[in-house]
Structure formats: structure tokens, C-alpha cells
Amino acid sequence: MRKTSEAAKASPRSKSGSGQAEAIFRVLQNLANGDYGERVDVDRITSPQLKRIAALVNDVAEHATDQIRGVQERNKSLRDGMQEALDAILQVVNQGELSGSTGIRNPSPTLSPLVKGIDQLLATLRSFTLEMGEASLQISASSAEVLAAATQHESSMAQQASAVHETTATMAELKSAAGNIADNARTVAAVAEQTVIAARAGEAALKSLLSAIQTISQDADAIHEAMERLSRRVERIGSVVEVIDEIADRSDLLALNAALEGAKAGEAGRGFSIVAAEMRRLAENVLTSTQEIKSLIGEIREATDETARATERNRQSAKEGEDQADQAMQSVQAILAGIEETSDAARVIHLATQQQRSATEQVVQSMTDLEAVTRQAQEGAAQAAGAAAELAKLADRLSSLARRFRVS
């Protein structure tokens, strides 16, 4: 309700001109202070000029009041529109409702852009939410695939790392074995060299032995011939002794007959008998000597026969020894050839095993590097699997967030 200024209410007749102006001033002051409800009681203004001013002030106040009312109405309308838009946004925020629009029909021209913008925002959010949901599903599926692939890759890398480790260990053992083989091959080569030297010494010794055996054989032949000559001479001596024995026997017989005749002659033949007895004694001595000679010849013959047999055995042994030495020489030469081949082969093996050891060392180093790389790859695969798992969680969370918005 509109108030009338107290000054204006005062009787104009009782008031002076300044009091009326004061009333107008007061209304203006209130207007200035935002109080649009007070008016100037024009009827109480006596001065025409002040009257027109008071009427103008009242018109201004009335117009301002109308303006303020319009503004207030528009503000209310805007506030209501804003409230609706805010409610729609709160609904989106609180309930994730994106299925519709703000629901504001025929908004004021002032709010129309806002409502249109919010509707477009909701549409954009709806589209974005739909795309986000689809993307989160795709990410979830892809991350699951990545996780599976990363897990499988990690497993494969672990197996590969294990295999590489085992291979590295095996190669290390192979390296050690190659080293041992190289050492052994070197030893074999050295032994083969020594064996070659020993075999050559054996060959020289066998040549000396063969020469000695040939000398022994020649000596045995010479001894055999000498023994044959000795045997022939002994036989000749035996023949001579036989002749001597025969002569002695006949002398003995002659002496016996002489003694017999002497005995027959009696005393006259006594001297003859003595001579015959002496002759017989001599003949018997010769016979005894020839018997001794025969005995000695027999012993010599036995000795020469034994010597001849021994010499023959020696000759045979020398011949066999010569044959065996020849065979041994051939064997030693064959062995020497084989040993030389073995020595050459051992040297080749030694060189080959050295190269193998070097190559194996390189392989071991490469395997060690490969193992380190594989371990790193395994760790990378594990990190990838972790990241994929984390990504899957994030995708699930994103999907969960997206599901919080209803889009249909």
C-alpha cells in the first residue's frame, strides 16, 4: 500500500513552500534509497511548480514501481526457469537421468538459450554417456583381451625365461664339457706326440733288435757249421781210436797167444811169456786209454750233439725271432702310422674343440644376454598385465559410472 509522505500529508496551507519541497525531497530520497512505495500528496502541494514536480516524482515512482514489478516478475520467471534448469541438472547429477530433456516448455526468451543449451548439454551428455558406455565396454573387453594376452605373454616369457635359463645352464655345462674335451684333446695330442716319439724309439730299438737277431742267426749258423766240423773231426778221431782199439785188441790177442805158447813151452818159454805179458799189459793200457778216449769222444759227441741241438734251437729261435721282429716291425710301423694319424686327428680335434669352446662361450654370453632380455620382457609383460588389469578395473569403473546415467 502506497504511503503518503508525512510532510506531504501536512496541510499545504499550514506549510510553507520549503516544507512542501522537503516532502518532495524526502520521497526522492526514498526513491534513491530503493523505497518506491512512498508518494507525494500532490493535493497538498500548493506551489504549481512543486505540484508539477511532485506529480513528476510520483510518476517516476509509479513508473519505477511498475518497472520494478516487471523486473521482479521477469526475475521470478527467470528464477523459476533457472530452478527448473537447476532441477534438471540436479536430476542429472543426483539421479544420472539423461533420458529426457529439461522438460521446460515455452521458456522465456531470456531462458530459452539457457534451456536450449542445457537440453543440448543433456543430449551431448547422453550421447557422450552412450559413447562412454560403449567405449568402456569396448575398453573392458579390449583390456580383458590385453590382460589375457599379457598374462599369456608373461607366462610364455616366464617359460621362455626358464627355457633360456636352462639352456644357458646347459650351454654353461656344454662350455665346461667343451673345455674338458679341449683339455682332454690337448692331453691326447700330447700323449699321441709322446707315443709317436716312443713308437719311433721302439722302431729304432726293433731295428737294432732285428740286426742283433740277424747277427745271432748268422753266429748260430757259424756255430752250427763249426759244430758240424767239430762233429766230423770227432767222428774221425773216433774212427782213428777204433783203429787203435782194433790194433790194441789184436796186440792183446797176439800177446795172449804168445803167452799161451810160452806157457806151453814150459820153463823154456818163461822169458817169452814175460815179454808177452808185458806186451799184453801195454795192449791193455792202450785199450784202457782207447776206452777212455771213446768215453771222452762219446761225451764230446753228446756235448756236440747237444750243442748242435741247442745251436739248431738257437737258429730256429733266431729265425723265429727274426720273423717275429719283422712282424713286430711291421706292427710297430703300422702302429706308428696309426699313432701319427691319431696324433694328427688329436691336433685337429684339439683345434676344433678350442673353436667349439670359444663358440660355446659366445653362445653362453649370448644366452646370458638373452636371458636378461627375456627377464626384462617378462617384467614388461607382467607390468603390461598389471596395466591391463588396472585398465580393466578402470573400464569397469567407467562402465559403472556410465551405467549411473540413464539414457533411455
Binding site: 795172449l256 799161451l260 810160452g262 806151453k264 811169456s273 805179458a277
Partner: protein, 129 residues
């Protein structure tokens, strides 16, 4: 004191004696000599070295002996004929007596008689065969 010349010989390892007068000569032993007696009551020398040759009925016959050891002159008293009992019981007349020689007794062989008996025995054996 009279003396006798005796010839000492051996057959089958036993020594015997024969009167030197009964022996015409001493021959060299030979297996192929004809008229030699190789087996007698004295034995059979496997390899006779000597033969005691006697003259029998105008021809020489020899008794094969192993060895003739020598001729000795012994006192006649050392040569004794066989006692009659012995002569009758011995079954041969080829042993004429006994010679005492130092510490041994030797048969004194009657060489012609021994050859004669041995020849007869040899002939009867040949006829039996």
C-alpha cells in the same frame, strides 16, 4: 815141484780155467765164425770177445768166451781132478777138475770134451727143430 800153465777166461760173468795145453790158440771173437760153440754148460756169452780154439779130430773148433783174462803158471798141486762122486753126478765130462787160486776155486774145463759135448747137444737140438 811141478807147475802147470792154465788159461783164465770168463763166461757170463764167471771165471773159469783151462789147461794151456788144451788151447791151440786164442781167436778173435766173431759171430759169423763157423765151428764156434756159443752155448755150453758154462753159459752163452752174448758178445764173445774171444774164442778158445781146440783141435778136434783134425779140425779147429772154438768155444766162445767173454774174455780171456790171462795165462798163469800155477803149482800142479793147485790143480785137482774132480772127485768121482762129483764127476758122476755133474752130468758132463767137460769139467775136468778144480783149480785153487788164491782164495777162489775155479772149474778146470776140458776144452775138447766141452766142445764135443756142446756140439752134440747143438746137433740134437737142430735135429729136434
Amino acid at each position: 815141484m811141478t807147475e802147470r800153465g792154465i788159461l783164465l777166461f770168463s763166461v757170463d760173468g764167471r771165471r773159469h780155467a783151462v789147461d794151456a795145453g788144451d788151447v791151440r790158440r786164442i781167436a778173435m771173437g766173431s759171430e759169423d765164425e763157423p765151428g764156434w760153440i756159443r752155448s755150453s754148460i758154462l753159459g752163452s756169452p752174448p758178445r764173445p770177445r774171444r774164442g778158445l780154439v781146440a783141435a778136434l779130430e783134425g779140425e779147429e773148433r772154438a768155444l766162445a768166451v767173454d774174455e780171456v783174462e790171462g795165462i798163469e803158471i800155477v803149482p800142479a798141486a793147485d790143480v785137482s781132478p774132480l772127485p768121482r762122486l762129483a764127476r758122476e753126478t755133474i752130468g758132463t765130462r767137460g769139467i775136468a777138475g778144480i783149480v785153487v787160486r788164491e782164495d777162489e776155486l775155479l772149474f778146470l774145463v776140458d776144452l775138447p770134451q766141452l766142445i764135443r759135448e756142446s756140439s752134440k747137444e747143438l746137433s740134437s737140438h737142430a735135429e729136434d727143430e
